[in-house]
Symmetry: C2
Subunit: 204 residues, 2 copies
């Protein structure tokens, strides 16, 4: 879990070490509880150096989040294929990202989105503009339905991440990815391309 805590005196990429330590700390303890002092300690540098590089704790958090989360990289592989398999491919890609070291940033973002207000807005806009809209646009869904369909997918996926990586509810936490792909894939598929009368039951 602990990243690179080795000593690196006079190293030019001290900046990367700080970002690495920041990601682990934010993911593990949330935004508030993760202190700059602890991050600096884990990175093997002085707390004041963190301020020198990033200016404030907020900017450090944003700098730690921006890089590793890049949905544009893996969205093509989700969208490429038959229409009926997009649910399972979406779940598979999500789990692959969250199981990787880069997934720590996602956990950190989710953790602090629950706690502080401005990260919640950050996560909201990220989900809406960077992920969900692209998927539903690719599926040629009715524009009027897209927000609700996208939100339902977000709810299913975030709940999966929450229980598997944060709360660590068994056997979800240690289940093989393909089991979960087969289990929740169809549900996601239904939210994306399911019949209209089930997703929009009350046209009052």
């Amino acid at each position: 879990m602990s990243g690179r805590t080795g000593r690196r005196p006079g190293n030019p990429d001290t900046r990367e070490a700080i970002l690495d330590a920041a990601r682990t700390a934010f993911a593990a303890r949330g935004f508030d509880a993760a202190s700059i002092r602890a991050i600096a300690g884990a990175a093997g540098v002085d707390p004041a150096l963190v301020h020198h590089y990033f200016g404030s704790k907020d900017k450090l958090f944003l700098a730690a989040m921006n890089a590793p989360i890049d949905p544009g990289r893996l969205l093509p592989e989700v969208l490429d294929g038959d229409r009926q398999g997009i649910g399972e491919r979406l779940v598979r890609a999500f789990l692959a990202v969250w199981d990787s070291p880069a997934g720590m940033a996602g956990v950190a973002l989710l953790r602090s989105a629950v706690t502080t207000e401005w990260t919640a807005r950050l996560l909201r806009e990220f989900l809406v503009t960077q992920v969900l809209r692209r998927v539903l646009q690719h599926l040629d869904a009715d524009p009027a339905e897209r927000p609700l369909r996208g939100a339902l997918v977000a709810a299913q996926m975030s709940g999966l991440v929450l229980m598997r990586y944060v709360v660590r509810l068994e056997p979800l936490a240690s289940a093989p990815p393909e089991t979960l792909v087969a289990a929740v894939g169809p549900g996601v598929q239904r939210y994306l391309t399911g019949p209209l009368d089930e997703v929009f039951p009350l046209p009052d």
Copy 2:
């Protein structure tokens, strides 16, 4: 379980006022950010009085959570009825609880479960022993399948709560309950009583 022989506290109203303010504060700002000073201020009492009643911040949190969360009250109405409608009834009951004032305690528990370790364990054991096990027991599910089925339901429901009440993702946040019942009910139903080969696809 209510202590009928316990020594009576000073003013029952002030104690309830403190618990009420605590639930609101914990739900709105999370465990760490909700200060005893702010809770005391909202309740109209002195901060030191909170310590006098509950001893510590942790115990105050536990006292605020214990009362309003009582799944035994509404589980019968979920379990009573035909087998195929239990998914929708479960979602309907959940939303009814979370939309009510008592739902603040649930939001507070979820919020702090994401941040602090011991509340995550609290939520875990609460979900497993108080909710999921009872539902699946009533359905006569294969005991070997119960943990995964229950965890999948927990993931779906917690994600719904997370997006609707915490992150406030639209249009999920302001959608009428019955819309969500019809939208996610079938998915929950599938997790509970769905075909075996979909939930357990890899018998390796």
